[in-house]
């Protein structure tokens, strides 16, 4: 994939201010939650088109100014696969089985569920993972008569940590991978180790906080032990088919760099194959359950950010950032890591990363004007910046209940089940964990990319 280079000839004219106004107003509306974020994004994008900040040809067909279809089709493909897998009950089977392996001991269940959530989040998207694990968690907490809230918060945090490890784990990574032309293994190799360390430290912290607090009676543990996890499986044939396709898709992701496929190709192939072998005659449901609001949120944002790129606002900002750190790339990395963490805790990390991606590319162009394509995107001094952005944006999501979609879902499901997680209660766990995890990420980036060069 060659990124299309556009000629920059802009000045701070009318369209410059119009584009910024549209974007800022949209951002305020998204944060205020007065209007649904998808509606805001679609309206903002259409305004960019109507006011001719970007024209439709650019918005639909130029990656630089418009929709990144890699991201869109990767999301849609994975969502279709999950929609077909969910009703089989395989995930609930895993959860109940592991709760039994933990012998109904609440603290062990907490740890095991944290690990399962992290691993699943690395392979599926975070929202799906928590949608699968939270109901089982509420059930088990009820059975054991323990407070479900620590479990739910730990799962939300784990899903964001686990999702950081892979290209498909978290939307920021999907977006970064596409823009920076990084493959699945790049993410595993560069982010995997630090996520492993972060997860271990996180589990240690959980042990210190909850190790003694979670207790239950022997009789209640029997409730868990007497459950038959096989009851969860609704369709054994479909379980086999979907596990086969999932394995194929994961293999595809691992090899996509070597085979020169985009991740979206792999996901779409998997979606098509599973639809075919599922034998369903009515694909409506699997397709209708794709989270279209999320997909259109991405589409709208890409076009809005495209407007900002086109009027030159993004390259102006990238010059500012480089000025701020005086071109020192270690400082730039650190700035991006911490700024991303804070920004992602406060606003949705999707618009944030959508804006930062072109900014990083612009920065690279300014630093190495003679390079282009992968020579530019994968410049050894630029890579740590991409990883800082990914780590900051993904881990920062843990900072508040609105920092990541998984958190929003968990809080919503908990409330529906009658255990309200207040904003501050989430922050009380989330903010310190975010600080510790980003701190570890900082040490990692310094050690791996700067200390010995």
């Amino acid at each position: 994939m060659e990124s299309v280079t556009a000629v920059h000839h802009f000045q701070m004219d009318m369209s410059f201010w119009v584009a910024i106004t549209i974007f800022v107003v949209a951002l305020i509306l998204i944060v205020s939650e007065k209007i649904h974020k998808t509606i805001v994004a679609i309206c903002g994008a259409s305004l960019m088109l109507v006011l001719k900040i970007v024209d439709q040809q650019q918005a639909f067909h130029l990656e630089e100014y418009g929709v990144d279809w890699n991201v869109i089709f990767l999301l849609v493909g994975m969502m279709v696969i999950i929609n077909l897998m969910r009703p089989t009950g395989i995930f609930e089977y895993m959860a109940i089985r592991s709760a039994k392996l933990a012998k109904g001991e609440p603290f062990r269940i907490l740890i095991i569920f944290a690990v399962i959530t992290a691993v699943l989040s690395a392979l599926l998207d975070n929202v799906t993972t928590v949608l699968l694990i939270a109901p089982v968690t509420l059930l088990i907490a009820d059975a054991l008569q323990v407070d479900a809230i620590p479990f739910l918060i730990v799962e939300a945090l784990s899903s964001n940590i686990g999702g950081t490890a892979t290209l498909i784990g978290d939307p920021p990574n999907i977006m970064i991978a596409s823009k920076a032309n990084l493959n699945f293994l790049d993410f595993v190799v560069h982010l995997g180790p630090v996520v492993l360390v972060i997860m271990l430290v996180f589990l240690l912290i959980i042990k210190i906080i909850f190790g003694r607090r979670l207790q239950t009676k022997e009789a209640l543990k029997q409730r868990i032990l007497s459950m038959d996890e096989l009851d969860a499986i609704k369709d054994v044939k479909m379980v086999k088919k979907s596990l086969f396709v999932l394995a194929l898709v994961l293999t595809g992701f691992i090899l996509h760099g070597a085979l020169h496929y985009e991740p979206a190709t792999v996901a779409l192939f998997g979606a098509g194959l599973l639809l075919l072998i599922s034998g369903t005659k009515e694909p409506e449901q699997a397709l209708a359950e794709v989270e279209w609001p999320v997909v259109f949120f991405f589409i709208g944002l890409f076009i809005m950010v495209g407007g900002l790129v086109k009027v030159g606002f993004i390259s102006m900002m990238s010059t500012e950032v480089l000025g701020l750190t005086e071109g020192n790339l270690f400082q730039t990395s650190m700035l991006i890591l911490w700024f991303s963490a804070v920004a992602s805790a406060v606003v949705d990390n999707i618009p944030y990363v959508a804006t930062m991606n072109p900014l990083v590319i612009d920065m690279a162009r300014e630093l190495w004007p003679e390079l282009s394509g992968n020579d530019l995107l994968h410049h050894k001094d630029l890579l740590p910046i991409w990883w800082s952005l990914a780590l900051g944006a993904c881990l920062g999501g843990n900072g508040s209940p609105i920092g990541a979609s998984a958190n929003v879902i968990v809080v919503g499901m908990a409330e529906k089940a009658g255990c309200r997680i207040s904003f501050m209660r989430f922050v009380a766990y989330g903010a310190p964990i975010t600080f510790v995890t980003v701190f570890i990420a900082m040490i990692y980036i310094w050690l791996r990319y700067y200390a010995f060069y």
Partner: protein, 156 residues
């Protein structure tokens, strides 16, 4: 036939949104209409303003946890019903009531009312006058009883 002729008048038989379900369930059990204990009551704020309605269906719904979806519906245990029932008692009327109601007017035709209940799949409608004051509640069962008096008179 008009609604006001067959409705159950609302006098003291109503609930407050901040009441616990423990209170509400016991009140409903004690309140009788046409010799049966009632299956639903209006919820009034400050004793005047209609904010919702609570029926036994809403209460039974509250006992089934929201997380019991298709895949884990089978994972229950002995004693779950009793534990949940106690938990439900601690919930508030506000948490389970149905808001945004369809209402009837005292002078509405009963047949129009019946049509509305069927169309909206509800068993009862609060009867409200033009000033918004709740006068009564009309139930599907009241409509049926009114029918029986006509039908049975003819056949006898």
């Amino acid at each position: 036939m008009r609604v006001k002729e067959i409705m159950e008048p609302v006098t003291s038989n109503w609930l407050r949104p901040e009441q616990t379900l423990y209170d509400a369930i016991c009140t409903m059990r004690k309140t009788k209409w046409e010799e049966n204990s009632v299956n639903g009551m209006v919820v009034l704020e400050h004793g005047i303003q209609l904010v919702g309605i609570v029926t036994i269906k809403d209460i039974v719904k509250a006992i089934v946890p929201s997380y019991l979806d298709d895949n884990i519906g089978g994972f229950t245990w002995d004693g779950m019903f009793e534990e949940r029932a106690e938990k439900v008692g601690e919930m508030l009327v506000r948490d389970i009531m149905t808001g945004e109601l369809i209402t009837a007017k005292p002078d509405d035709m009963v047949i129009h009312c019946a049509d509305q209940m069927l169309d909206n799949q509800v068993q009862r409608l609060p009867v409200v006058d033009d000033t918004g004051k709740v006068l009564g509640i009309i139930r599907l069962r009241d409509v049926y009883l009114a029918m029986t008096t006509i039908v049975c008179k003819v056949s006898e």
